[in-house]
Structures are given as structure tokens and as C-alpha cells.
């Protein structure tokens, strides 16, 4: 049947067929990418356990991913907290329940917004740089050169990057929580006139350490997934400068998607 169709097929396939084909190709690529990223994850785990431990490289990446993101994550946190407090206080005013602003903001931040937004900021800032740097090294044969010098590129290049994502996104999540709460305190207590005592005691009453852990676990998982995706795309780039550009675009889209998809599944699994 397939051959019959092929014989009769017009030169330009029907747009419907073409869009089905494109969808199919996209689905195939997603599946092969998931396989590739998972395989790379195992490789990274294997090589991270082996000597030599390249602490120098790890600290350089921790600095780049973590310290370098402090400012933008803090700023995102402040504004997210302020916007969220502003909107929820408008809603709660209708029921005279402004005292719930603190806990609402706190729970949403700790469980969802802090890990998701921190990981997104790390993707945009550090992930894109990782992808272009590795991609450029790949297409200019610097990765091959490393290999010929008997240095494993996964161990030398990828392990420190992935570990720094795993370690630093939870740390940045905590920072986001802190600045987010500061922002919401400012809007609720100072601008909207909710009493500081109510804001703090209600927040304390509703938020458990377990909510913080949930955010931290998510942060670690997102940190792992976005750095792995960005490293995978860069490490396997081909086709010169254009190829590196395409790899980076794909890495950004795939990393962001991986955050939202994993957020759902991790959330379901934790409850």
C-alpha cells in the first residue's frame, strides 16, 4: 500500500499530509532527543564518579551558574512576589480575607514559582551560554582535540556544568523564596496596610518546611534537566555557526518545556 501511494503521489504533497509528516518528524525528534539526553545523563553520572575530580572546573561553573545568576534571580523574585501579592490582595479584599495574602504567596512561591522561575532564568542566562560554547567547541574540533589529548570531554566539559545546575538551581530557588517574600511583604504590609503581625503569623501557620523541600527537590530536578538538555544540544551540534545557532534555539525551547512537563509530574508524584 505504501508503494502504491508513493507511485501515485503528486510532486508536491498535500498540505495536510505535509503537516502530518512534519508532526511525525517532530515527534520522532522529541523521542530521540529524550533518549539522547537520558543516555548523556548516565554518561555524566558515570564520569562524575571517576577520577580526576576537576574541582577547578566545577567551581568555575558554580560561579558562573550560581553567583552570576544571583542578581537576576533576586530581581525576578522581588517583582514576582510584589505582583503576586498585589493581585491576590485585590482578590482577597472582596472577601475581607487579606490575611490570606501572605500564606497564598508563600505557598505558591515555595512550591511552584521559585523553582520554575529560577530554572528559567538559569536556562536563559547560563544554559544558552553553555550550549553555544559547547557547540562552538564541537564544530571547531576543540572537542576532538580534547579527546586526542586523552581527556574525556564528558568529564572535562559536561560534568561540571551539569553538577553546577544540580547544585545551584536549588540555592537560587531559596534566594527566590526570600526575595519573593520580601517583595510581597513590601506590597502587603507597607503599600496595602495589612498588619505585619497578621502577614507573618498567618504565613508561619500555613507554610511547612515540607513546602520548602518540595521547591528544593523541583529546583534540583530542573537544574539537572536544563543543563543536561543545553549540554546535549551543544555537544551534538553540527553544521558550523548556523548549526550552533539552531542548537541553541532548540535547547532553549526544550529546556523550558522540560521544566513545565517535569513540574507537573514531580508535583503529582510528591503528593
Amino acid at each position: 500500500m505504501a508503494t502504491e501511494n508513493a507511485d501515485k503521489a503528486p510532486k508536491e504533497p498535500h498540505y495536510l499530509l505535509q503537516s502530518i509528516e512534519n508532526f511525525g518528524k517532530g515527534a520522532m525528534r522529541v523521542i530521540s532527543d529524550i533518549g539522547g539526553v537520558t543516555w548523556l545523563g548516565f554518561q555524566v553520572a558515570r564520569w562524575s564518579a571517576r577520577r580526576p575530580y576537576r574541582l577547578h572546573n566545577l567551581f568555575a561553573q558554580l560561579d558562573f551558574v550560581g553567583v552570576g545568576s544571583v542578581f537576576i534571580v533576586a530581581l525576578t523574585g522581588v517583582f514576582t512576589g510584589m505582583v503576586f501579592a498585589h493581585q491576590s490582595s485585590r482578590a482577597f479584599e472582596l472577601f475581607d480575607a487579606e490575611s490570606m495574602v501572605g500564606p497564598t504567596v508563600a505557598l505558591t512561591l515555595t512550591r511552584e514559582l521559585a523553582p520554575v522561575f529560577s530554572a528559567l532564568m538559569v536556562t536563559m542566562r547560563a544554559g544558552s551560554a553553555m550550549c553555544t560554547e559547547l557547540g562552538t567547541m564541537r564544530v571547531t574540533e576543540q572537542v576532538d582535540a580534547l579527546e586526542t589529548m586523552a581527556v574525556n570531554p564528558i568529564q572535562y566539559l559536561l560534568v561540571p556544568r551539569v553538577l553546577s545546575g544540580l547544585i545551584m538551581v536549588p540555592v537560587l530557588t531559596m534566594l527566590f523564596n526570600t526575595t519573593g517574600m520580601a517583595g510581597s511583604y513590601f506590597v502587603s504590609v507597607i503599600a496595602k496596610g495589612i498588619s505585619a503581625g497578621t502577614f507573618l503569623s498567618r504565613t508561619q501557620q500555613w507554610v511547612d518546611p515540607i513546602d520548602l523541600y518540595e521547591g528544593l527537590i523541583k529546583g534540583a530536578i530542573f537544574g539537572l534537566s536544563v543543563t543536561l538538555v543545553c549540554c546535549y544540544k551543544g555537544y551534538n551540534a553540527s553544521g558550523g555557526a548556523k548549526g550552533v545557532g539552531q542548537a541553541t534555539t532548540q535547547a532553549m525551547v526544550a529546556s523550558a518545556l522540560s521544566i513545565f512537563i517535569l513540574d507537573f509530574f514531580v508535583g503529582v508524584m510528591l503528593h
Partner: protein, 259 residues
């Protein structure tokens, strides 16, 4: 006729390639390469642009895996090796890339010091410094370039840094992918001398891809001519000069005609 007896004469084979095939997609690049390079000899690979010389060289160090065939280095088939075993085997090698492939996040000094810092941990910082200086000196690069980044160098300078980096560990086998392309005649002569000196002093086995035939005839113990995916001629330079193969004749006549 000498093709078969040549490898046996000077020593055991260091690199032996048996029936190697490599295809990229639809494009058959190598279709049955057989090549034996004896220990301590210098083999120059000639061939037209795009004939697959670089692809062949990358198989020798395991950067590419053949679709079919064996690559035997120092008595061991490297094709089935896993990454850890391959890494060990690669300590015998140095490689100069056609486009230098310097690490652009590192200075010239750090590039050349890199193999030392990775594999000669016992060396003091001062010893590393002196050795790097010596190798850069050999390539005619002054101390003032040590702190510069590859992006700020000329093509020829980058090539020379790549050469220094490839030989800094004094490996048993050095692969040179067009080491002298883009270099001035004086530096070219230096590089030829360096290849010969390494062979004489350290019994280094060298594989050189070159477009510069006079330099090839200078350094080669053997010349292999690659055309249409196979080695069509292999032997000492004198033998190549007598070759009856039309592609080889054409290649040499064009060159000697204009010189």
C-alpha cells in the same frame, strides 16, 4: 611490488589499517583502505582535496569509528575499544588539526601547557613554564604571544601553537593534518626538520597529510596516495615518482611541471 615487503623491513607495524570502510550518509568516503605504517617511520598521505585524508587520519586515533574494518595501533585493534580504553591508547598520540583546534578560552601558554597539566602532574609549574617556552621557541613564537588568545593570532601562528601543543608530551605517534599549509617557507623548513629530528632522536612514528610535495619528499620514508576511497600507491618516495597510476602521474606532473 615493494608495497608488500616495505612494511616488514624497518620494524614492526605501529599503525595498521585493514579493509577500512567509511560512509557518511550516502557519501562513500573510504572504500577499503589497507595501510601499514612501520614503527619509527614517517608516512606522508597525499591525495586530492576532499579525497578523505582527514577522515582516514581521524580513524587512526579513534575519533571516527569505521563502518567496517580494523585499525591496529601498537598491536591492538582500537575499533572495539570503549572510551576509557581508548583514552589510555591516545596517550601515545599527538595530533595537529588542519584548523589548529586551539582552545579559544585559553591563552597560547595555557593551550600548550594543557597536555602537561593533564598528564604530567608531577611537573612543577616552573618546569611546565620552561618546557612550554622551549616548544614555542622551536616554532619561532616569541614570549610576547604566550598571553594572547587564539582569536588574536594569525592563521600561521595558530598552526604553530597547535604543533607545539601536539608534541609537548613527546608522544610515540604524531599525526599531522597539513602541518605546513599556510606557513612561510622558513617555518615550513623548521617543521620538516622537527619531524625528522623527532624521528631520529625519539623514534617517533609520524603520519603527515600534506599538499606540499617537495616537503613530502623531504620527510617521507613512505608515501601513500589516496584516491577514490582507496590507497592506490604506497612506497618510498622514489617508487612514487615512478608510479604508473594515472591519478598519481597527473598529480606529480602538475606539481613538478610548475616547479
Amino acid at each position: 611490488m615493494v608495497t608488500d615487503s616495505a612494511p616488514a623491513a624497518p620494524g614492526r607495524p605501529m599503525i595498521q589499517i585493514i579493509d577500512l570502510h567509511k560512509t557518511f550518509g550516502e557519501h562513500k568516503v573510504l572504500t577499503g583502505i589497507n595501510l601499514t605504517i612501520p614503527e619509527g617511520s614517517t608516512c606522508v598521505i597525499l591525495g586530492g582535496s576532499g579525497s578523505g585524508k582527514t577522515v582516514l587520519m581521524k580513524h587512526m586515533i579513534g575519533l571516527l569509528k569505521p563502518d567496517h574494518g580494523q585499525v591496529i595501533v601498537d598491536g591492538e585493534d582500537i575499533v572495539p575499544l570503549g572510551d576509557a580504553a581508548l583514552e589510555k591508547m591516545r596517550r601515545k598520540f599527538g595530533m595537529v588539526f588542519q584548523a589548529a583546534a586551539l582552545f579559544d578560552s585559553m591563552t597560547v601558554f595555557e593551550n600548550v601547557a594543557f597536555p602537561l597539566r593533564e598528564h604530567r602532574k608531577e611537573m612543577s609549574e616552573e618546569q611546565v613554564r620552561q618546557l612550554v617556552r622551549a616548544k614555542l621557541d622551536l616554532m619561532g613564537l616569541p614570549a610576547s604571544v604566550e598571553g594572547r588568545y587564539p582569536a588574536d593570532l594569525s592563521g600561521g601562528m595558530r598552526k604553530r601553537v597547535g604543533l607545539a601543543r601536539a608534541v609537548v608530551l613527546e608522544p610515540k605517534i604524531v599525526l599531522y593534518d597539513e602541518p605546513t599549509t599556510g606557513l612561510d617557507p622558513i617555518t615550513t623548513a623548521y617543521v620538516d626538520e622537527m619531524i625528522l629530528a623527532a624521528q631520529a632522536k625519539l623514534k617517533v612514528t609520524s603520519v603527515v597529510i600534506s599538499h606540499d610535495i617537495s616537503s613530502a619528499f623531504n620527510v617521507a620514508d613512505y608515501i601513500a596516495f589516496l584516491s577514490k576511497g582507496v590507497i592506490v600507491e604506497f612506497g618510498p618516495p622514489e617508487q612514487l615518482r615512478e608510479s604508473q597510476h594515472p591519478v598519481v602521474r597527473n598529480f606529480l606532473e602538475t606539481w613538478f611541471g610548475k616547479n
